[in-house]
């Protein structure tokens, strides 16, 4: 078929830049032409941006004859991106494409960093394309007459949808889209419809990603997959010899020489660690061992001052750095061309995180990614083998979308009420059209409305004021101050209370969580941003410090660093460990032979259909170890569940410990079991009541409620720089949680907190599947006379919680001797 004039123009432009449309790109163009929405699944750097940008160009060229001359066409495309850092680059690339093709359009950028003047200018003269974050999009919806802004909108693209869909920011995005679809449905002037496209990397549940983005309309949406596949080379860093009794964290820093060799062989290396604390430690270890690296390596993580991070990113891009030690803060974002090597320190916990990080090197379409896996204990080498197998078999994790997030709904309704206002009966069908709220009962909708208007269904407070119903039936926000406060709190990213860290003379270093600072005494030495600092005092949300020359210091332990092993990785790990399984030729598994042999000699190496339990007596008491390989969170609940069920059978109490591979119950009394009794303990019958009886769900829910209260607008985080303004409104979410639990137990936000605990924290669905698997598996109970290679790291982890690090090392060495 003959290409249209527009398409010929685009193809000429691409050809001039040595590009030719990939089949997936032309496929998207065709769908777009025909008015369809969908999801494009393509790896980074494959031309996914052009697939959709050029689709809009084509649509415009083929329907607007004067396209080359027409300016000020109104907003035609919203490009939603989760990352501010990506936005600038995207804007530049799109503007270049417009200019190159001769499309007289403007590409605007609207994020939290956009100046007020620029925002105003944009609203007077709307750019044709606006690159925007979900939060800034909601801010637009809070303006009076916002509907006019979107009158001519032809498409919404949600970039990095896989990143958004698993969290509440995804709910923000889909609520905004439901409103944009509503506006498009009202207009009669243009015949063109609104297309909604998501761009997603490969994840385990792509069809569900379509369903979540498109909600009610998902059956008409298409899924376009590019057939481009990225080659990833995985290399393991092997220690000099195998530690038969491994323990987490032990190996790590010993491998600094091997790490240096990797750096020396590469142009620029990104070194990923799992926690900010680990990043600080590795940075110091590298500098201590190789002082000549000073000035060539840098640190980058979320607690480091923004300007410093910015400098590191710039230096990375310009190839001025040999290596950067980082955490998830560099997982996403702009690609740094000089980066040719990535190192992952310790378990990445999931296949997709590993691939994501690997992809930060060699990002051009034809280039391969290269990643080194550096274990923190020898057993982790088996994970390297499992990761390679999972990558080959494309066993990727799924992203679970939140459902019935009433906190986000309350915020969204307030957002709409800030400006034009909303009518409940016309907005409800839109809200219900989203995946998150499709099953919302009518009573819950009424509850949310009453929460915002009278303060709750049971109570009508005379003075309560948030939303008021105007005579015409629209709901609006009552007063200017409430509007201002709401607009400053739009979003779902709730940060911990952070304290600024400054030198006494004023220099800014970074931020620290309040909990860590609260434990510091004057004179205490700690590491931050690669510096060694001594704490002086704390005043007005700022921790003052001075430089310290002390050799050793604490490394702040930040919250949230403990991500559990993913289910797909755990599953693959069971597969590679079995004797004569697909892992038998992997160098990692061969290297681990002495460890695995010892495990076999003392107990057993379980196959994928086995569940191994070990009952061991030591001087401390009686230990039951079980290895489901289901990740730390699931093990935590399993351990509590088993302890509870055992204590119902006989009077006994346990202490518990767990890691990603298994868990331990320990008692000072003998509690002999056989395999069948053990199987009964794992039965998923009566699961919920037993969980509730065995763990402190209220405490977990109280912690969850923190984010919910902030998102729903019940707790104000304060504004940067004006901390004192709202002192009389300061309260902790824990206090609200207690008050609601006591006086308003039917509060849906409380119910949501408990639901989030079960779904996300306790991973209830995963727990149930795991229990079913164990009950159906061959349960092997062995009784080794000493600790085994599998049980040793769990034992060590349980010691760690109670001891200082010096005592700990001594204890572990003793334990290793005893168990030899």
């Amino acid at each position: 078929m003959e290409h249209s004039v527009g398409e010929q123009t685009l193809r000429r432009w691409m050809a001039a830049r040595d590009m030719e449309p990939f089949p997936f790109q032309t496929e998207v163009w065709q769908h777009f032409r025909e008015g369809r929405s969908g999801i494009l699944n393509a790896p980074t750097g494959s031309g996914k941006t052009y697939a959709l940008l050029l689709a809009l160009f084509l649509d415009w060229m083929e329907t607007v004859p004067d396209w080359a001359r027409l300016r000020r066409n109104g907003l035609l495309l919203l490009w939603v991106t989760p990352l501010k850092a990506l936005a600038t680059d995207l804007q530049r690339a799109m503007q270049d494409a417009c200019d190159g093709i001769g499309m007289p359009w403007e590409v605007g950028l609207r994020t939290g960093d956009t100046t007020a003047a620029e925002r105003q200018r944009q609203l007077r003269n709307l750019p044709e394309i606006l690159v925007i974050t979900p939060e800034s999009l909601h801010l637009l919806l809070s303006r009076k007459g916002y509907e006019d802004t979107f009158r001519r909108l032809r498409a919404v693209v949600v970039d990095e949808w896989h990143e958004l869909m698993g969290g509440k920011r995804g709910v923000l995005a889909t609520l905004a889209i439901s409103r944009l679809r509503g506006i498009a449905g009202e207009r009669k002037d243009t015949g063109s419809c609104l297309r909604v496209w998501g761009i997603s990397a490969t994840i385990g549940n792509l069809p569900e990603a379509v369903e979540v983005l498109h909600g009610k309309d998902h059956t008409a949406a298409v899924l376009v997959r590019s057939d481009l596949r990225k080659t990833t080379y995985v290399h393991s860093v092997f220690p000099a010899e195998v530690e038969q009794l491994p323990w987490a964290g032990h190996l790590g820093l010993q491998l600094v020489d091997q790490l240096y060799e990797v750096l020396a062989r590469s142009r620029t290396t990104l070194i990923f660690t799992n926690t900010r604390g680990q990043a600080e430690r590795w940075y110091h270890a590298l500098l201590d061992a190789y002082p000549d690296l000073a000035g060539q390596i840098a640190l980058h993580h979320g607690s480091i001052d923004r300007s410093m991070r910015h400098w590191v990113e710039q230096a990375l891009g310009e190839g001025m750095l040999k290596a950067v030690v980082t955490t998830s803060s560099l997982d996403l974002g702009v690609d740094f061309r000089p980066v040719d090597t990535v190192v992952q320190v310790g378990s990445p916990k999931g296949v997709d995180r590993f691939l994501q990080r690997a992809g930060r090197s060699g990002h051009a379409p034809q280039e391969a990614s290269r990643i080194y896996f550096l274990p923190t204990h020898s057993l982790e080498l088996a994970e390297a083998a499992a990761l390679q197998l999972a990558i080959r078999e494309a066993k990727l994790e799924s992203r679970q979308p939140p459902v019935l997030a009433y906190d986000v709904l309350a915020q969204y309704l307030c957002t709409l009420a800030c400006g034009t206002g909303f009518r409940p009966d016309s907005i409800l069908p839109e809200v219900r059209s989203t995946h998150c709220f499709r099953e919302m009962p009518a009573s819950a909708w009424q509850w949310v409305l009453s929460l915002l208007s009278t303060g709750g269904s049971l109570h009508a407070y005379e003075e309560f004021r948030r939303l008021v119903r105007a005579e015409d039936g629209t709901w609006r926000m009552a007063d200017r101050r409430t509007i201002l406060r709401h607009r400053l709190h739009i979003g779902t990213i709730v940060s911990d209370t952070l304290l600024q860290v400054r030198y006494l003379n004023g220099g800014h270093i970074g931020t620290l969580e309040e909990l860590f600072v609260a434990k510091l005494k004057p004179g205490d030495v700690f590491h931050l941003a690669g510096k060694t600092l001594a704490f002086v005092h704390c005043k007005d949300m700022t921790a003052y410090v001075r430089r310290s020359t002390a050799r050793n210091g604490m490394t702040p332990s930040w919250l949230g660093g403990r991500i559990p092993l993913s289910s797909s990785l755990g599953d693959t790990l069971r597969t590679v460990l079995q004797e004569d399984g697909p892992g038998k030729d992997c160098p990692e598994i061969r290297f681990l032979a002495p460890l695995l042999d010892l495990q076999r000699e003392r107990s057993l190496v379980p196959g994928p259909k086995d569940t191994l339990a070990e009952y061991i007596r030591t001087r401390e008491g009686f230990h039951l170890f079980v290895y489901p390989f289901e990740g730390r969170l699931v093990h935590e609940v399993m351990a509590a569940l088993l302890a509870y069920r055992l204590s119902r059978q006989r009077p006994i109490s346990f202490s518990m410990a767990m890691n990603d591979y298994g868990f331990e119950l320990m008692s000072d009394r003998d509690f002999p079991l056989d395999a069948e009794q053990l199987r009964d303990l794992f039965r998923p019958d009566d699961l919920l009541p037993d969980i509730q009886a065995s763990i402190n769900a209220a405490e977990l829910a109280r912690r969850r409620f923190r984010d919910i209260a902030v998102i729903a607008g019940l707790v104000f985080q304060g504004y940067p720089g004006s901390l004192k303004q709202h002192r009389q409104l300061q309260s902790s979410s824990a206090l609200l949680f207690n008050v609601f639990s006591e006086y308003d137990p039917d509060n849906l936000l409380l119910a949501q907190a408990y639901q989030e605990v079960f779904d996300q924290q306790l991973e209830e669905p995963r727990l149930r599947l795991a229990l079913q698997r164990i009950v159906g598996s061959r349960i092997v109970l062995s009784c080794p006379s000493r600790l085994t290679p599998f049980s040793f790291p769990i034992k060590v982890d349980s010691l760690r919680q109670h001891m200082s690090s010096e005592k700990l090392t001594a204890r572990i060495l003793t334990l290793q001797r005893q168990s030899r």
Partner: protein
């Protein structure tokens, strides 16, 4: 409800788990940080705190007054949380039922209503401190180690973290006795806690529901 006797500056005092202290010799009930009007202030800003929260605080105060039959109630600051709102009316009604009882308030950082308002409610207002026997009643605790005057204060909303045997942490409000300073827990239950770090010579009396748990620094 069990009270716990303590000796402070040679005076016999009773700590009550309803977050107050009774001084029998002077027939005075001492408490701090009532924060009347706080829940109403929140409601005005669109945060739905049930009005029952304050009603329960006042009921608890009524109960203490019934138990001890004090001649006087002394509040060491932060009787009112913010400006005038409907919660104040609830307090006024409550106050009017006890016309014979004398109320004295040491002004706290939250007490910013006009003096006439306090007079109107039958509350004697003291600006800086009230000296009674060996005690200086003040709002904010001032560490004094050299002089022999003892202080009783509030403001901090002191609390302690207690670890239970099953490795959970409970945060409990407390009376904090440190040197010459006794800090009272916040009376209102709609208040947060400031976790204190007791020194080795300090005494802490944590409130666990209706009992008082003595803990040492």
């Amino acid at each position: 409800m069990d009270t716990r006797p303590v000796s402070f500056a040679g005076e016999h005092l009773l700590l009550h788990p309803d977050r107050a202290l009774y001084w029998p010799v002077r027939q005075t009930l001492l408490l701090s940080d009532l924060h009347i009007g706080k829940s109403g202030h929140f409601r005005k800003a669109g945060i739905p705190i049930p009005a029952q929260v304050q009603a329960d605080d006042l009921d608890r105060l009524s109960g203490l007054i019934r138990d001890f039959l004090p001649r006087r109630v002394a509040i060491v600051g932060d009787l009112f949380h913010a400006g005038i709102n409907q919660d104040m009316e609830q307090f006024r009604t409550w106050r009017m039922q006890l016309p014979a009882l004398s109320f004295v308030l040491v002004r706290g950082n939250h007490d910013r209503l006009s003096e006439a308002t306090y007079r109107d409610l039958g509350i004697d207002l003291v600006c800086e401190q009230l000296s009674e026997g060996p005690f200086d009643l003040v709002h904010q605790p001032v560490p004094r180690t050299s002089v022999a005057r003892h202080t009783i204060s509030g403001h901090l909303h002191p609390g302690v973290a207690v670890r239970t045997r099953d490795r959970q942490t409970l945060r409990l409000p407390c009376f904090w006795l440190s040197g010459y300073c006794l800090t009272l827990p916040a009376f209102s239950r709609f208040t947060g806690l400031y976790l204190v770090e007791p020194g080795p010579a300090d005494q802490v009396f944590a409130i666990a529901e209706d009992t008082i748990l003595p803990l040492h620094g």
